[in-house]
């Protein structure tokens, strides 16, 4: 695979993406809901593809494939457990959508701040999201850098790759806010699913078809088809990896904010079902990709190089290899730009808007637009520096964000929840996760996400029970949700 072919692939991808971003512009976006939520008018098909591209990053074809290479079928189980957790959208989706429309919420943390009648709740949850998601974005940027450097034997440097990804993420975000992000996401999602499916079908065919493929795995690598397999996926490891991801769809603001955006509940329904179909196909494809690497390149010291090795193999035509490589790059960028947009909306709405200054919609939008490149450059700097703490925070991202789950569930199902309960559970729970990640301490063999969730639940309930709940707001909020759900669902 020549470097010039890779450059051509990247240039064609950039030109098509920029064109899509350009034509996605509508009228000037003058308020927060317009720029960050597409005026709550996004259609179901685009919402489904964009949700998929935002959720599935470069981790799938590189990280999950590497995890399959290292630990076998347990990697598939890990991803399927996450997939099963997306059912939470069927419960929280209509509730988020209904209260978002009624109260004009732009961010999930703004919703929690209003529900618990305390702006500090919104500010603390927003800052917590920034703390974990900026390092996570940095690792995605680094992933693009490593991928391009690895595929071209250093002819395209790590820095060049990371800069390309950073600039594209800023441009996709800036063009028209969420509209350009969602339309370019849709293009990238289609690239991801089509190219990866074709390349895996080619690989399986090259290895003798499905029967022979699994037959070879059974005879030559039998441990790759069971858990704990070679011992990598012990039950405690499996539990520690999966628990934070079950709640991903409500704990990560870059995806939970998507529940405000569809034009109608019908569009939200299409988003949920479309994502589930996409997710199952992409998960199976990514795991089969990892299995192919086990058979073609057994004994690799670093499982993360399984994907570059596969892309360079004789079984894959060079042009298709470049398309898959660009689609992996697109998967990373489509995740980064969504995180960028969400974090800037959190900062503008909940941190700047929560300072008590007279901040109207126009000022918040200006701050939001200003902060987009600031966060992107920060993520790029972290990617370049490759600090240990950044790696720790990135790994801890899903665990660190899980501490907001009790507050989110409580907002809709527990009248006694209080702002003090939320603030203590999010701040102390988040701190516990960081300490456990830094010290690499795993009580009873369980990871930081499990302990973060347990501590957050205990703190949220106990602190709420000894402090005064905002009864009037809680009753009004919950009563609206109850009556609206009855109206919008047949059997509620």
């Amino acid at each position: 695979m020549s470097t010039s072919l890779i450059w051509w692939g990247i240039v064609i991808y950039i030109v098509i993406s920029l064109y899509i971003a350009y034509i996605s512009r509508e009228e000037q976006q003058k308020n927060m809901a317009g720029y960050f939520l597409g005026n709550r008018k996004m259609n179901g098909f685009v919402s489904a593809l964009s949700y998929s591209a935002t959720t599935y990053s470069a981790f799938m074809m590189v990280g999950l494939a590497g995890l399959t290479y290292r630990g076998g079928v347990g990697a598939f189980g890990f991803e399927i457990i996450y997939f099963m957790g997306v059912t939470l959208v069927a419960f929280f989706g209509p509730r988020f959508w209904l209260v978002g429309k009624k109260y004009g919420y732009v961010t999930p943390s703004e919703m929690l701040g209003d529900r618990y009648d305390n702006k500090k709740v919104a500010t603390i949850i927003s800052l917590s999201s920034c703390l974990f998601l900026i390092p996570y974005s940095a690792v995605q940027l680094a992933g693009v850098g490593y991928l391009l450097e690895g595929m071209t034997d250093g002819e395209i440097s790590f820095t060049t790759g990371a800069i390309i990804a950073t600039i594209l993420a800023i441009v996709f975000t800036y063009f028209a806010g969420i509209r350009s992000v969602m339309w370019t996401d849709s293009l990238q999602a289609l690239m991801m699913i089509i190219s990866s499916t074709i390349v895996v079908l080619l690989l399986v065919n090259g290895l003798g078809g499905f029967g022979k493929f699994f037959g070879t795995l059974s005879t030559e690598h039998p441990k790759s088809l069971v858990v704990p397999g070679n011992g990598y996926f012990s039950f405690t490891t499996f539990l520690s990896l999966t628990i934070p991801w079950i709640f991903f769809s409500i704990s990560n603001p870059q995806v939970s904010q998507r529940m405000y955006m569809p034009a109608s509940l019908k569009s939200l329904r299409r988003m949920v079902l479309g994502f589930l179909v996409f997710g199952l196909i992409y998960t199976i494809v990514s795991v089969m990709w990892g299995y192919s690497a086990i058979m073609l390149f057994p004994g690799l010291d670093n499982p993360d190089v399984a994907t570059p090795n596969l892309l360079s193999s004789d079984l894959i035509p060079p042009v298709l290899g470049v398309i898959v490589m660009v689609s992996i790059m697109a998967a990373a960028i489509s995740t980064i730009d969504s995180i960028l947009l969400t974090l800037s909306s959190l900062f503008a709405r909940d941190v700047y808007g929560g300072t008590g200054k007279r901040s109207n919609e126009e000022k918040q939008l200006k701050v939001g637009k200003f902060i987009i490149p600031v966060i992107a450059i920060l993520a790029y700097a972290f990617a370049q520096l490759q600090l240990n703490l950044i790696a720790v925070l990135s790994v801890a991202a899903s665990s660190g964000l899980i501490v907001s789950v009790p507050a989110i569930i409580g907002a809709f199902f527990w009248r006694r929840g209080t702002a003090a309960g939320v603030i203590s559970s999010v701040s102390i729970g988040g701190l516990l996760v960081i300490i456990l990640e830094i010290t690499k301490f795993k009580p009873f063999g369980l990871g930081s996400g499990v302990w973060g969730l347990v501590s957050a639940i205990i703190l949220f309930i106990t602190v709420s029970l000894v402090t005064k709940a905002p009864e009037q707001k809680a009753n009004e909020f919950l009563e609206y949700v109850r009556t609206a759900m009855q109206k919008h669902t047949k059997s509620a």
Binding site: V73, F76, T87, V226, P228, F238, S264, L280, H488, S491
Partner: protein
């Protein structure tokens, strides 16, 4: 007073399926080194989850 009976029923079933996804591969299927072991089980559970989601969302109306 906040979840419908339908949500409670299908939500409960979902939790049961998630528990099965944790328990069966580490017990009954831990020696089945073929594609029709844990790999197939997780695919079946994922398809059941899609079915449950369809049931949960099909009645949403504007």
């Amino acid at each position: 007073r906040l979840m419908s009976k339908k949500e409670l029923l299908w939500g409960g079933l979902c939790i049961c399926l998630i528990l099965l996804a944790y328990i069966i591969p580490f017990t009954i299927l831990k020696n089945i080194t073929f594609w029709y072991g844990s790999f197939l089980l997780w695919i079946i559970l994922a398809l059941l989850i899609i079915g449950i989601n369809y049931i949960l969302v099909k009645d949403w109306r504007d």
